[in-house]
């Protein structure tokens, strides 16, 4: 009750729709060709190190990290490089991409050997060589996160709060050994004493499994999480698991990050990928994605080579149902994922779902006048006040936006989801945040 007075932060009670949770991962047939963009992470794009006509194998380095905050990129198929050219990504930005014609043999590059890890530095080198980024959706380079040395708690994000998606569920059920070895390596070499695995309560079988497997691991605990979206949002997860709050501003004046409160969050699939890499030396070249929605013939979990086109993924899942008109393609979950204008975009490292919605399911209600019910405020996981912020933004009131901490908005969409007037509230929040940050930078520049 008292906490409710501070901020309600109830989140949204989204439907689960985890129909694919029980479906074992199926390997997708190797597509004819893949298109691998050089920007599948936050930070600088990778620099292509292959050219047209080169022969590549699975795991061959094709893009070199373009800076400290960047990530290596490897070929997901064996074959010939068709082209290295700029492409328009699904989110509208343009970056270079390597198109590769697959020969279908999937020959593994002999250079892929398990790395030798003896301390933190060699672990970070290995993580970079693996090309690992946050696989939950954000795509932040993992090695950068783990480089901080103020961390005492590793939080494993297995909340999977987005509706439909079940890739993390499958990871836990199918690859628990590499999850544990990955956690073990991070804790050991980065000298992190505690680890909390946060799993939403709608996955009881995963909770039970993880409980029984981690019983003998010192410092590792499993935390069942309430079923509220966005439970898997980094800051919300840290608060629920540890009670700590990621500060809005770090001591250096930049935006706060989990390391500022002694935490680092890794997605469960990321940590498992690390475990696999340490064992086999095969870098991140495939990704499990949940293919679901009312328009797809055979929903399921698919292990797709990175760079496979949506078109081929849909084909591998039996295509679109014949009697359904496809209305929307969503990459990611329905709350934070984006809508794709066509099926000619590639699967990225951080993609974890592809939803095919019929025109009917994709239809959204029209916006009505705001009735000032305050539901957006109750839902906002960050304790923001969207309806108030919208007003401040309308007046372009910089100070008010600053006082209302608009920069904390994590674009989770909860406010839009709960609005009874069906207003696109989170869109307004995104505009307000962009305007605020621009003004702020302008002021700082002066």
């Amino acid at each position: 009750m008292l906490k409710g007075l501070k901020r309600s932060a109830k989140g949204a009670r989204v439907p689960h729709e985890k129909a694919t949770a029980g479906m074992a991962t199926v390997k997708m047939p190797v597509p004819q060709h893949v298109v691998i963009p050089m920007q599948m992470h936050i930070g600088a794009p990778a620099q292509p190190v292959v050219k047209k006509g080169d022969t590549v194998m699975v795991g061959t380095l094709i893009g070199q990290a373009g800076g400290f905050i960047s990530a290596d990129i490897h070929s997901s198929v064996s074959g010939t490089v068709l082209d290295v050219a700029p492409m328009r990504m699904v989110n509208g930005t343009v970056c270079k991409a390597v198109a590769i014609k697959a020969d279908g043999h999937q020959t593994l590059d002999p250079a892929c050997t398990p790395p030798v890890v003896t301390d933190k530095d060699s672990l970070l080198v290995a993580i970079r060589a693996c090309g690992l980024v946050g696989l939950g959706g954000a795509g932040f380079p993992t090695a950068v996160k783990l480089a901080a040395n103020t961390i005492d708690t590793l939080v494993i994000n297995a909340a999977e709060c987005e509706p439909y998606l079940t890739t993390d569920t499958r990871e836990m059920l199918e690859c628990s050994d590499t999850i544990l070895s990955g956690i073990d390596a991070v804790m050991k070499y980065c000298d992190i004493p505690n680890c909390i695995i946060g799993i939403e309560r709608n996955k009881p079988e995963c909770i039970d499994l993880m409980f029984s497997l981690t019983r003998d691991m010192p410092g590792v605990s499993v935390k069942p999480l309430p079923m509220r979206y966005p439970q898997g949002a980094e800051k919300t997860l840290i608060e629920t698991c540890t009670g700590r709050e990621v500060p809005q501003t770090a001591p250096n004046g930049k935006g706060g990050i989990p390391a500022d409160c002694g935490c680092v969050v890794m997605n469960v699939t990321s940590v498992s990928t690390l475990g696999k890499y340490l064992k086999t030396g095969i870098p991140l070249v495939t990704k499990r994605i949940t293919v679901d929605g009312d328009a797809i013939a055979k929903p399921g979990n698919l292990e797709a080579p990175i760079g496979a086109l949506y078109r081929d993924v849909i084909e591998a899942c039996g295509g679109i149902k014949p009697d359904v008109e496809l209305g929307k393609i969503i990459f990611g979950g329905p709350m934070m994922g984006g809508a794709a204008p066509s099926a000619d975009f590639p699967v990225l490292k951080q993609n974890n779902g592809l939803l095919l919605l019929s025109r009917k399911a994709a239809a959204l209600p029209e916006a009505e006048p705001c009735i000032r019910c305050g539901r957006c405020i109750q839902a906002c996981p960050m304790g923001l006040e969207p309806v108030v912020i919208a007003e401040n933004f309308k007046n372009r009131d910089f100070d008010a936006l600053q006082a209302r901490c608009i920069d904390l908005c994590v674009a989770c969409g909860s406010c839009t989801y709960v609005c009874p007037a069906k207003r696109p509230v989170s869109q307004t929040m995104a505009l307000a945040k962009a305007w605020y940050l621009k003004e702020k930078n302008g002021k700082a520049g002066k």
Partner: protein, 328 residues
């Protein structure tokens, strides 16, 4: 695949199934017990009054938006809610034309002239009631008493008689004089239960109003019986459940709602005990409505991980002390 026609919108791609119309519908359902109770206690004319007032509210809203060529909002049912609440706020023998006047004030003047739903500064039905109270005072206090009540209540509204002689059961069932909707505590509590169960409203506003009134009255009288009578008499319960909780005119945050509720409870107590009016509730809610922007300002939530802006604070403090210095 006909990809040219794919829909591209910003996330999220799903919405919950709440709608303005649905929420208003919930309020209407929650009001049904009170309408039925009014029909039982005061006779069938209650239904006529409710019907005419609702029709007038919807009609005015429709006409107004038609004349100004605005989108027609009647579908959101908010005018129906206003109509029912206004009707339940008058005595049963109210002449129908006065009800229509009340509807005009509520819908046209308070709601639409300020921009329609979401923009009114006070609850339209509440202003309707207050306007009728001010304009037609004798009519508004011309209570009809149920035939069934045989005790002291038969002659006056319980706020005006010695509380000691009042049967709590009669009070609870609504066998006493008053406005149509506010007499039957049982019906109002049923409505409240429905509103809470459907999450149409939270407990913060009605809870803090009633608890504040209870504590203050009990402290003043030290008599549980009198306190309970006081709580069930007049418009307190009906106002706390159906009128103070109007979304547009109550604060956003839980903290704000609690402050607002305590304020309304306190004002009701003060007006009832030290003012000249027995019916303090509507004025208390009106004051609360008008102060809502301030309550909103005082009750902002603390965002997750907020870093206090020390600089801004210091500057403010400096400005404040400088101001003081200048004044001295």
């Amino acid at each position: 695949m006909e990809e040219q026609r794919l829909i591209v919108t910003a996330s999220p791609h799903i919405r919950d199934n709440s709608t303005t119309r649905g929420l208003m519908g919930n309020v209407i359902i929650a009001l049904v017990p009170s309408i039925v109770a009014a029909a039982f206690i005061f006779g069938m004319r209650s239904l006529l009054v409710v019907g005419v007032t609702v029709a007038a509210c919807v009609g005015f809203e429709y006409l107004y938006t038609l004349l100004l060529k605005k989108p027609n909002p009647v579908g959101d049912l908010s005018a129906v809610v206003t109509g029912i609440i206004l009707a339940l706020n008058v005595p049963v023998n109210m002449p129908l034309w006065i009800c229509v006047v009340g509807a005009f004030i509520a819908i046209v003047i308070v709601k639409q002239l300020f921009g329609g739903i979401g923009y009114n500064f006070a609850n339209p039905a509440l202003i309707g009631r207050i306007a009728l109270f001010v304009g037609f005072a004798t009519r508004m206090t011309d209570y009809v008493y149920p035939d069934m009540a045989v005790d002291a209540l038969a002659t006056a509204t319980p706020l005006a008689v010695d509380a000691g002689g009042v049967s709590l059961l009669d009070m609870f069932l609504g066998l006493h004089g008053g406005m149509m909707g506010e007499v039957c505590a049982l019906a109002i509590l049923l409505g409240l239960a429905y509103l809470l169960a459907t999450r149409t409203i939270g407990f913060a506003i009605p809870g803090s109003i009633v608890i504040t009134m209870f504590v203050l009255t009990f402290a003043a009288t030290r008599d549980l019986h009198a306190t309970l009578v006081e709580l069930m008499a007049g418009g307190l319960l009906f106002g706390a459940v159906f009128m103070a909780t109007d979304y547009v005119t109550s604060p956003f945050t839980t903290g704000g709602k609690v402050i607002y509720g305590i304020f309304i409870g306190l004002m009701t107590f003060l007006i009832r005990n030290f003012g000249s009016m027995n019916e303090g509730m509507s004025f208390a809610i009106l004051l609360g409505n008008l102060l809502t922007p301030w309550f909103n300002d005082w009750s902002h939530q603390i965002p997750l991980g907020r870093t206090k802006q020390k600089k801004a604070k210091k500057e403010k403090a400096a400005a404040a002390s400088a101001g003081k210095g200048g004044a001295a």
